[in-house]
């Protein structure tokens, strides 16, 4: 039971004074993903052969490696902020915090693994 006033309840802990950065990040990564996604899809389709050597050689080219790293960052960041919105919508309380931390850990792992792989292929193939 609570005897808190309705206005007190509505005001809660006040405004977090944040949210715009998150909103901008979601939109800017979405815009970035349009050219990057198109470039990635078309490039792979234009490969003469889908075999391992061809793809590795393609990734190893400096411009491709740079754009690929940008694609991984934009994609993973977009996915992370998007999933965060879904968690905020549907999962509250302790379970919400736990889910949010898990989502962020998994995405940080994904982005580091992605960038590491591209660098390894890029440098390794150059030898």
């Amino acid at each position: 039971m609570s005897l808190q006033s309705p206005l007190g309840k509505a005001l809660g802990h006040g405004s977090a004074k944040t949210g715009l950065d998150h909103w901008l990040a979601q939109r800017s990564t979405a815009i970035a993903l349009v050219p990057l996604g198109l470039w990635f899809t078309v490039s792979l389709l234009l490969l003469p052969h889908g075999s391992h050597e061809f793809v590795v050689a393609w990734v190893a080219e400096p411009l491709n490696a740079i754009l690929l790293i940008l694609l991984v960052i934009a994609l993973v960041y977009h996915s992370m902020v998007g999933l965060q919105v879904i968690v905020e919508d549907y999962v509250q309380g302790g379970l919400g915090y736990l889910t949010m931390i898990t989502v962020q850990f998994v995405h940080i792992l994904l982005v580091v693994a992605g960038i590491y792989s591209i660098i390894v292929i890029s440098l390794g193939a150059g030898q």
């Binding site: 006033s5 309705p6 206005l7 309840k9 509505a10 005001l11 809660g12 006040g14 405004s15 977090a16 004074k17 944040t18 949210g19 715009l20 998150h22 909103w23 901008l24 919105v85 905020e88 919508d89 549907y90 999962v91 509250q92 379970l95």
Partner: protein, 260 residues
């Protein structure tokens, strides 16, 4: 977690059927949500067969006829019967709207009437709007200025400036929009909802108001404002043809403008 199932004591059961009087010419069935907290029973859907030949044209007319002639315990709010007080907001045929401005003939088949969704029900079609009103109060819906009022006249607005607040200030606080919004269903404890956000927008674009910065500060919050994902149920539901979804988008634009 967001709650997707009704608790056991809120699950709706079959109710009574009230047949139309003998000799009725144009019978229409009204299925109405009934809940009496004092009875200890679950809510039920009662069916009322009404002779439209002996009834006014609007949904509210049929409900008043039921209350007057069939079952006086049927409970709902109503006042002006012309869409300006916002009292008779309810979910009719699956859409939140005002019973007084919706014609019976605009609904095909049986007319289903439920209380506004996802609010605690006080009785029958009367929902508890305490939190909804508290949220409206929380956005300080009044003129805030630092410039003292002119001693001998009103605070003036140009015609164009007045037109900016003309539409948003036509909101009647009926709660049709907020209670049609899934984000408001799941997070109304912290999300202000389309109604309170439209009300804030009305003051944000008021040329006389000098608290725009403070108002935007209060809104920039993952829950208060950014729970809106622009699905526009609010605009679809609004019985006054206002556009809360656009107002919320404009608020988000104002926050971007002051940053970039």
């Amino acid at each position: 977690m967001a709650q997707f199932n009704l608790p056991p004591n809120s699950r709706v059961q079959k109710g009574k059927t009230f047949a139309a009087p003998a000799g009725a010419k144009n019978v229409r069935r009204f299925e109405i949500y009934r809940y009496d907290p004092d009875s200890g029973e679950n809510p039920r859907m009662d069916k009322f067969d009404i002779d439209l030949a002996e009834c006014g044209p609007m949904i509210l007319d049929a409900m008043l006829k039921i209350k007057d002639e069939v079952d006086p315990t049927l409970t709902f709010r109503r006042s002006c019967r012309e869409g300006i007080c916002g009292s008779c907001a309810m979910n009719i045929d699956g859409t939140n709207t005002l019973a007084c401005t919706l014609a019976i003939e605009d609904i095909k088949g049986d007319v289903t009437i439920n209380p506004l969704p996802h609010l605690a029900v006080v009785k029958d079609l009367v929902p508890d709007l305490t939190h909804f009103y508290a949220q409206y109060a929380s956005i300080k819906p009044w003129l805030q200025t630092r410039t003292p009022a002119p001693p001998d006249s009103e605070r003036l607005q140009s015609k164009e400036e007045q037109e900016l607040i003309n539409t948003p200030s036509a909101c009647i606080l009926c709660a049709c929009c907020s209670t049609s919004c899934p984000s408001y269903w799941w997070n109304s404890d912290r999300y202000l909802g389309p109604s309170a956000l439209l009300a804030t927008y009305r003051w944000l674009v008021d040329s006389r108001d000098e608290a725009t910065g403070e108002r935007l500060d209060e809104l920039e919050d993952p829950f208060r404002l950014y729970r809106c994902h622009t699905i526009m149920n609010c605009t679809y539901a609004c019985p006054k043809d206002l556009n809360p979804a656009k107002a919320i988008a404009e608020i988000k634009k104002m926050l971007v403008e002051r940053r970039l």
